[in-house]
Symmetry: C2
Subunit: 230 residues, 2 copies
Amino acid sequence: MPKPVLENTKEISPKGKIARAKLRTAALEVMERVGYHRMRINDVTAEAGVASGLFYHYFKDLKSLTLDVLQDFVAHSLHVEDIEKDVPKGDWYERMLAHNRLVVLAYAERPGIMRALLQLADEDEDFSQLLRKNFVQQLSWLTRQMPKLFPAAKMSEHQAMMVVYALAGTGETILRDYYINHEPVLRDKELSVEEMTELITVMFYRGLFLQNPPVEKLRYTDNLDEMRKN
Amino acid sequence: MPKPVLENTKEISPKGKIARAKLRTAALEVMERVGYHRMRINDVTAEAGVASGLFYHYFKDLKSLTLDVLQDFVAHSLHVEDIEKDVPKGDWYERMLAHNRLVVLAYAERPGIMRALLQLADEDEDFSQLLRKNFVQQLSWLTRQMPKLFPAAKMSEHQAMMVVYALAGTGETILRDYYINHEPVLRDKELSVEEMTELITVMFYRGLFLQNPPVEKLRYTDNLDEMRKN
DNA sequence: ATTATTATTGAAATTGAATTCAATTTCAAT
DNA sequence: ATTGAAATTGAATTCAATTTCAATAATAAT
């Protein structure tokens, strides 16, 4: 659980809290609409319905507010720990599914924010690190199991990490191009969150286990068991 | 082969050509160093060793020059057609390998430019489309084969596209985080271009065929045949 | 009720870069 | 050698945005 790294915490008058919250909400709204790079202080204050100068009472600059808001978003929307617990030990497919569902949901419901995440990560090394740390951490449960899961493969720790990292990337591109960029060849048919989650999870599972997941769990991809050589 | 979309073509005096070329080279250099977002006209003219005003003789604005230069880069560094022909028909692994080697090489040698590609795509819808069109086109040879390759799966065209798109994303994240962001957990061990290419290709191949590639072709990942369930 | 503190406003100052342009230089053509 | 068109310069200008701040309003403390 990452604790707030911010000094965005002056005094805490009751009124101050409200105004500050208004600005944060407004920033999120504007970011969803125009992304981080085109967001202006004026946009935020206008959206919040306050004078532009007030911004500086509560935040140092746009980046500081954005970091604040997006760190929150990551902590609340992309943290999986709770969910993992609901899944029967050893049911890898369900576990991955639960995991991926969360990510897909974030893309589906907040594409603008997911985009802003990438924009900010590109701009700010610290935030970039934070995202990757989060990513790696989400993967760590799997990475740790690898030696036990595939003892015959005698993988090094590093190789296991590389493999899992590569697999985990599977989703990223298609999610970005589907939900953020609305790539026509993908949008040709609309997928529900559940279908998209399933697709990504199945592809991940196949790469990891050289098997299709149990067909009875599949709805959108139940035919992919036949996608195999020979 | 995308033809130049630019009106960056005024008169073509011998001297003009040189200066223009100097600016393009300088832009590439600066972009490699600082990326697209932090690049300034002054940086480019300084790097080129000319006065700042001269910029406008040859280019409308930074974005125009950048588009110009990056479209070139994509056309020359990320176009695979020639390579594909060298590969024995039906040798899927070699084909994918050749394909991926090109991409990995681009990341390894020009990480700053690859980063700038993403930056510009985020900023400019047209360029974003161009990149994706390129991406989809690279995938089309495979997508087209899918019905014949896996007739039993009875995949729709769209599903085939989704599957291939997901698989093709495999590399993107790890390449970005390895070569651009220098993620420590990945950099823990240094991989050669060949090794990275192999890893990505193997993971792609596994997801597609539910098989490991022929072990005799593998050097860095020859143990992954044992990475499978049961 | 009075005073002090904090919040809020919006016009004005500042910033940092893009852009223009009049003056100067280069160079190919004659 | 002279000419004129194109290339080049960099100081001056413009511009869009951030940032400051003096004045005013709201709220809390006594």
